[in-house]
Symmetry: C2
């Protein structure tokens, strides 16, 4: 580590900030409580021991109990899920579908697609799996019917386009797909919807179709992986980090000596952690989708969690939106429920910033924000969600949020100093095993 | 290069897409014009020769004529610009300002800040520089005045915070800065505005103050640089690319054997270029801010252009918004005009997609979109902008756009095949030196 980097990560406030805090004395009394908490911190070795316990628990849980599946619950006949398939098997599935169509036509019966319903009435939350899956209802989409001829044609076209993409061994976006036949698709929502249909029909994930979403996420820390054959060492990605690739099927060879994954809601906190090289002090992988999680980041997080068997700790804003984001990572979004098993990462721990932290860390009143009516409603709605109800600790926290009607951003911790997050708050959280 | 990668980048349509295009025959006639253009393509060596001419021109232009400055135009007294300063000199400037304040107070005169005006009435477009700068008007901000005491206090506080950040050798976001003293700043717009004031007062860029914006951009291709001491080889960043670091002052040691920089408006086009490893066929650096350019990407582009002396070619949507984005890269945005010399990259060539391309490449009618009234107005407004008027070719193109009232996205080229962009459109553009 260079002298510079060491200086940046040393504990204790440097002499320089003395002048700043002297200036601030006129404006507000210095928060002695915040400095008091700093004194609670034990040596890093002891904190690491507590982290290692969590790591060991996650490792043994992952290896002893294999993840539940629909068939374990005898639901595989009644419910439908898609899985990751390689290009060859998706092509085979398309060829089979086309052959079946051809046979049906030759037999004088015309052709028809059997398309699983993705309507919410066909969705089911399975508590054992902690995610939403599709029931088995499906509908027929015959070519020889005035009401379905258009959709049947679009379905055939999308199948043929996906086939071409897979044969070329490339990846395209939904927008690319739409533009290959605007005349037929008319608007993108039509080709997008049929793409999801095709995914369900073939029983494979959308990423298996090589149709990808745009990437937003970045990753940094104790992780090495290959992106399209290039070896990426995430401890050597500077402060900017590595952009998470849009196509998960080109990601491979994950290796890590991290003890946990730190999932961060926002860019600014990610930057603080990356600049302070937090992962050197506490071996971890730091990942963010910069707000609402995109599909690429969700796939990447799941991949890390399942292959490396690491516990995941989440750092989000203390507001309903922060928890909503956690719920997308953990349980998926409703409109992609057929793909939930591949997109979701169960068992994420809520590290912070939690409503109870506001008093515990004495976040100044002026750094807390009043919740709007809409916020309160969103909080109350969350209290009705199964994934919240299952976790007593979360219910308590959320209750407190709704009652106090106060929210706070991760950035509010900057009121105790720019590096309070990395030097005091997170180490103390880890030391006290303070996650839910 | 692996067999896979080679297959992905070969020219000519693979056998696989024959079935797809056979299927599409029923739906629309195959576009023979698009395939005809493919035949126009010369061997890559000849295309590269034409690219090399552009590269040589950019290199010699950069080394023969040093960039014009305000003082060359005898405007340095009348106009104000900030420049990149290292942490030590910014600290020195703050110490000097504070000493001057102390002396003034000891002499019984109280203290006052002299703050440059950033109002639009104080802005000036300098055609020779092709950017907006600030005139020299400034206003006094005395502490001992009811109307300015608050702002003077905020200014002192921001100076002290910036000083602490620089001494710690860290970087923070504007949001972090705000949260260090919410009681004083009240809302973030106040600390943000004073931060810009401080930047002007000290004569240094905002990034020199170590207050950074969040990053959005990614880069891939023939570039090696260091991010906070880590060596990054952008030919080995897979498809996802390297996230552009938020703090440009930690970026160094740029090396490249590229012949040009390809600036891409959108994510989807970036992904296509990265997956096809376009930079291996035509040595280039590919960069995108995923839409509206952020400060980090603008700083990074400028840094590449000035240090590597590479020509910059832009690939944007054929609509007023695409051109607006180009204008931000080239001339800056109005509210940061004091920093324009450090944020802008002059002399970007408009490669495509241009309004004249729609007919030249026979983009199907259904892939063109009608412009809304608002689009047309934005187009007409652009025609009034100095940076457009200076370039006859741009005026012509924009005139055509407004008259035909048609726009098109980069993705519209997918109507000729997913890889038409990388296999035909861009190579032909380069071969024909078709940029403005």
């Amino acid at each position: 580590m260079s002298e510079k980097k060491r200086r940046r990560t040393e504990a204790g406030p440097p002499a320089a900030s003395a002048s700043a805090s002297a200036a601030s004395k006129k404006l507000r009394r210095p928060d002695s409580h915040a400095q008091g908490l700093r004194k609670l911190l034990k040596p890093d070795a002891e904190i690491l021991a507590s982290v290692r316990e969590m790591y060991d628990a996650a490792q043994s849980a992952a290896s002893s109990s294999k993840a539940l599946t629909l068939s374990d619950l005898s639901l595989s006949a009644a419910c439908r899920e898609v899985s990751d398939c390689d290009a060859a098997s998706v092509q085979l599935a398309i060829e089979r579908a086309v052959l079946a169509m051809a046979r049906s036509i030759l037999a004088g019966r015309g052709f028809s697609f059997d398309v699983p319903s993705r309507a919410s009435s066909n969705q089911l939350y399975v508590p054992e799996l902690d995610r939403i899956v599709l029931r088995d209802k499906s509908s027929s989409r015959p070519f020889a019917s005035l009401s379905t001829v258009r959709k049947a044609t679009i379905t055939a076209r999308v199948l043929s386009l996906v086939y071409a993409v897979l044969r070329r061994d490339i990846h395209v976006t939904k927008r690319d797909l739409f533009y290959t036949d605007v005349k037929l698709f008319q608007d993108q929502s039509q080709s997008d919807a049929v793409l999801d249909d095709v995914s369900c029909m073939l029983g494979c994930t959308r990423s298996s179709l090589h149709v990808v979403a745009s990437e937003k996420g970045v990753v940094v820390g104790r992780l090495v992986f290959t992106d399209d054959g290039d070896r990426i060492d995430c401890t050597k990605m500077g402060i900017g980090g590595k952009a998470i690739p849009p196509n998960i099927d080109r990601v491979g060879n994950l290796e890590s000596d991290a003890l946990f994954i730190l999932l961060v809601e926002k860019d600014a906190a990610f930057m603080r952690l990356a600049e302070d090289r937090f992962y050197n002090r506490f071996p971890c992988i730091i990942v963010t989708a910069k707000g609402q999680p995109d599909v690429a980041t969700r796939l990447f997080l799941r991949r890390m969690k399942t292959e490396l068997k690491l516990p995941v700790l989440a750092l989000v804003d203390s507001d309903p939106y922060g928890l909503k984001i956690l719920s997308v990572y953990m349980c998926g979004s409703k409109n992609m429920s057929y793909d939930s098993s591949n997109l979701t990462t169960p068992d994420i721990k809520w590290l912070g910033v939690r409503p109870s932290d506001l008093d515990k860390y004495r976040v100044p009143e002026q750094c807390r924000l009043p919740m709007t009516e809409q916020d309160v409603k969103a909080g109350k709605d969350l209290l009705e969600e199964d994934f919240v109800k299952r976790n007593g600790g979360w219910v308590k926290e959320l209750d407190m949020m709704v009652k106090t009607r106060q929210k706070a951003e991760i950035q509010a911790l900057s009121s105790f100093g720019f590096q309070y997050l990395t030097e005091v708050y997170l180490p103390l959280k880890l030391q006290q095993r303070d996650w839910l």
